[in-house]
Each structure stands twice: as structure tokens, then as C-alpha cells.
């Protein structure tokens, strides 16, 4: 497993917001919602849409982000595909906050 990489300071990420960050050459969407940080592959499993450009839904019991292309929703916590047309989950990565820095560690 790779190491934690700093992606920026907490203050750079409004709550709620989603931001495209680069971790180990990969496009990751970092989401700040209700005080928590989530990191998912910024690639929709339906046809590669950029999740970071899509709307967040933090009101629902399962907070999610929707793909701007065809609307598939992915759970922030697990990456599970919640609605069609996506059927496969997108990868989720570990996040942690230390001091004022946000870190992401890529999962395999």
C-alpha cells in the first residue's frame, strides 16, 4: 500500500465541496462534507466521466456524488454505485487530517 500524501490545507476545501486533486499521478476527487473528508477515484465507472464536476448530495442518508455525464451516483463512504447507468463501484481511498493538512492514501 502506498503512503499518505498531503493534498493541501483544510482551509482550501470548503464544506461542502468537491475538488480534483492529484495523488501519485492519479486523478482523485476529494470531498469535504459535514466535517468529513472522502476520497474517490475521479473516474465514473460507467464511461469515465469526471466525478469532481458533478453535484454532491449530502442531505441524503447515504451522502453521494453524481456523475455529470449520465447522472450515476456513487456513495461517498464506500464508492458503491447507487444508481444506473453505473453498476460497478469506484475506488475509495483513505483520508486523514493532521494539523491543518489533509492526507490521502491510495488503496490498491
Amino acid at each position: 500500500m502506498s503512503d499518505y500524501e498531503s493534498v493541501g490545507q483544510i482551509s482550501e476545501f470548503a464544506d461542502p465541496s468537491s475538488t480534483l486533486v492529484e495523488v501519485d499521478d492519479e486523478a482523485i476527487v476529494l470531498i469535504h462534507a459535514a466535517g468529513r473528508f472522502y476520497a474517490l477515484d475521479d473516474v465514473c465507472t460507467h464511461d469515465g466521466g469526471p466525478l469532481s464536476d458533478g453535484p454532491l448530495d449530502c442531505e441524503d442518508q447515504t451522502p453521494s456524488i453524481a456523475c455529470p455525464r449520465h447522472g450515476a451516483k456513487f456513495a461517498l463512504g464506500t464508492g458503491a454505485a447507487l444508481t444506473m447507468p453505473a453498476t460497478k463501484p469506484t475506488r475509495v481511498h483513505e483520508t486523514k487530517v493532521e494539523g491543518d493538512q489533509v492526507f490521502v492514501r491510495l488503496s490498491e
Partner: protein
Amino acid sequence: MTSTEAADFGALIAERSDEPAWLTERRQRAWNAFESANWPSSKDEEWMRTDIRLFKLDKFSPAPADNAQPGGEALLAKGVDLGGRIESVNGRAIVSQLDDDLAAKGVIFGGLSQAVVDHSETLQAIFDKEVVSPTYDRFAMLNDACWTGGVVLYVPKNVHLEKPLHAISRLAGAGASDFSKTIVVLEEGAEATLLMETDSDDETTSGLHNGTIEIVVGKGAKLRYVNLQNWNNRTWHFGHQKAIVGKQAQLQWTIGALGSRLAKVNQRVALAGSDAEAQVNGVMFTEGKQHLCYNTHQHHEAPYCRSDLLYKNALQDQSRTVWRGMIGVDEAGQRTDAYQRNDNLMLTSDARADSIPGLEIEADDVRCTHGSTSGRVDDTMIYYAMSRGYTRQEAVRMIVTGFFQQVFDRITIDSVREALGEAIGQRVQDLPNQ
């Protein structure tokens, strides 16, 4: 656009004060276009599958090739008796040789930077043709404004080059870039073989290549052109490439695409004179998280032309390839015979290949066919080979070699076939036993 970029452009112009005025003006026009354009985005049909949001131009510098030393033996040059060779580092030529007898016949082969000064008029006429549109997209604009080197091959009428010519472009140092133009012109009845390849000095530094290739094959001329893209897997590779094939001329264009982190290449062939012929061969082998996107276009503008394209891709790990192929036949392109095919071999379940063939036909008397296959490597075949005493790795290598054989059979230059086989073999060796 940042002020750093504008300052870099100013410095580039100042550094190249020997250049003819027509070229400086052209650079300035391209720069102005670049400044007012946006990078392509996923909203553009052509870029939908190729994500360049992580590409940051300011991470790369036009690093000069100061103190650059020639590298070791190039893959495509191994054991080949060459008529001339060029080596460049970070887009600037450091070696340029051509046999005296060829130079005496009027052949021009050398670095583009020098050629535009020495043969300004000839080159201006070629630039004016705009074989590749300098405003096609923001990468093309940037290339047209900021190119620092590249290769020119000009073969006069009826001159036949017996020995192949070779050029290698290398990237050296972190954040290095190569902005180059390759220009190949064969006049009527000329014949030549050009072998070109790319290489990175080490495996871990990131690099940028933004280049164009413009080829004109004159009436009855014959060009064999090999292009091996072997940058390291941390290099961004953007390319616009186009060949115009004249009446009764023949082009054999072979592409090996092995390297780069992300590649977005437009490879176009225009059959512009009647009875012209183009064979396009492509071999791609990807690994890790590589993303290689090749758009090909076979454009039949004249009658009785033949084009035949075969791309074969083998993918491992989580790599991805995108091939979008188009055959376009103008109304004038009667009796066209065109073929395109793309086969994909997935060596892992996480790899992904998108294959999108297309036809646009305006003539009514044509034969245009296309095909595409994608498949996983066959476990029964591996099992069979292993039961005969081969390791899994050896078995996979055999399957990959067999898969590519069809393209290799079409490559008439022995050394090229061997070099491609070897380059692919080296990469398959890294396959984890699974």
C-alpha cells in the same frame, strides 16, 4: 496563459534570432492563437475518453540540451547500415550526419532548426502547405509557436535511398520537454526508409512531448516510415501527424506505441492522388496506468486508392487504450478500397480498450470494411503451455508474440520487426506471475 509562459515565448524568439522573418511571424501568429484558446476538455467529443485535467504545462520547462551526450545504441538502429542519423535531446539536435553521396544528390536530412536557416525557401514552401493544421487545437498552436527542433528529410526527384535513415529523440532531466516537428518530403519517384524513435534517459522523471509529423509522398514515390514511441511511462505525449500520398505513390507507416503516461495522437493519412496506396501498421503495448489514445483517419480524396490499417493492442495492469478510427471517402474517391481493423488483447481484467471505428462515405462505388475484436488472454492456452513445461510468464509472452505476429508479418524491414519484438518482450518480462 501565465506571464511566465509569455516570457518563455519571448526568450525563445530572442534565442532564435537567425530564423527567417516568415517563420518568426508564423510563430507569433500561432502564439496569439494559443493565448486565446482553451485546452481541450472532456466536453469535446474527441477528448471525451482522455482526461488531461492533471496536465499542467507550467510543470515543464524548455530545458536546453546543454552538455547533452549522445546516448547508447538505439533500438531501431541495431545492426542497420545507416545512410544518416540524427540524435536530439530535449528537442535540440546534438548529432546530425548524412552520407556525402546523398548530400551531393540534393538530399536534405538534418535538424529542422538548422534546415530552416540553410534552406529557408524550400522549407517555407513546405510550411505553407500546412499539412497539419497549426490551429487544430491548443497543442498544435503551442507546437507551431514553440517548436525547437525536429527532423527534416527532403529527397529530390527520382533519388532512391538504399540505406535507411535514423533519428532518435531523447528526453533528459526532470520536467524536460520536446517540442518538435518532423517534416518528410519525397519528390516524384523518390524512395526512402526513415526510422524514428523516442526514449527517456530514465524511467522516473516526468516529461512532455508535443510534436507534429508532416509527410508528403510525391507522385510515384515510395516511403517506408517507422515511428517507435518509447518515452517512459511518466511522459505526456501529444501528437498531430499527417501524411499526404500522391498519385501512384506508396506509404508504409508503422507505429509502435509503448511508452508515455498519457498519449493523445492524431494520425491521419490522405490519399490525395489517384491510385495511391497506404498501409498503416500499429502495435501498442501498455502497462501500469498508461492511457494511450490514438485517433486514426484514412481520407480518400481521389479514385482508385487503397488504404489498409491494422492496429493491434495488448494491455496489462490497469492500462487503457482508446482507438478511434475513421475512413472518410470523398465523392471523388470512386473505386476506393479501404480497410481498418483494431484488435485488443487484455492480459488483465482491469485493463480496458475502447475501439471506435467509423465510416464516412460520399462515393457510391467503394469497398470499405472495418473490424475490431477485444478479448482476454485465453486461460486454456496458458494452461496448455504450462502443462508443456513453460512458466506462466513464458506462456503469456508466447501468446502476446503470436497476437502481434500478424502486424509483424507486414513489416518488411527485418531489423524493425526484431526491435519491436524486443521492445515488447522487455515489457512482458515485467509481467507479474499471477
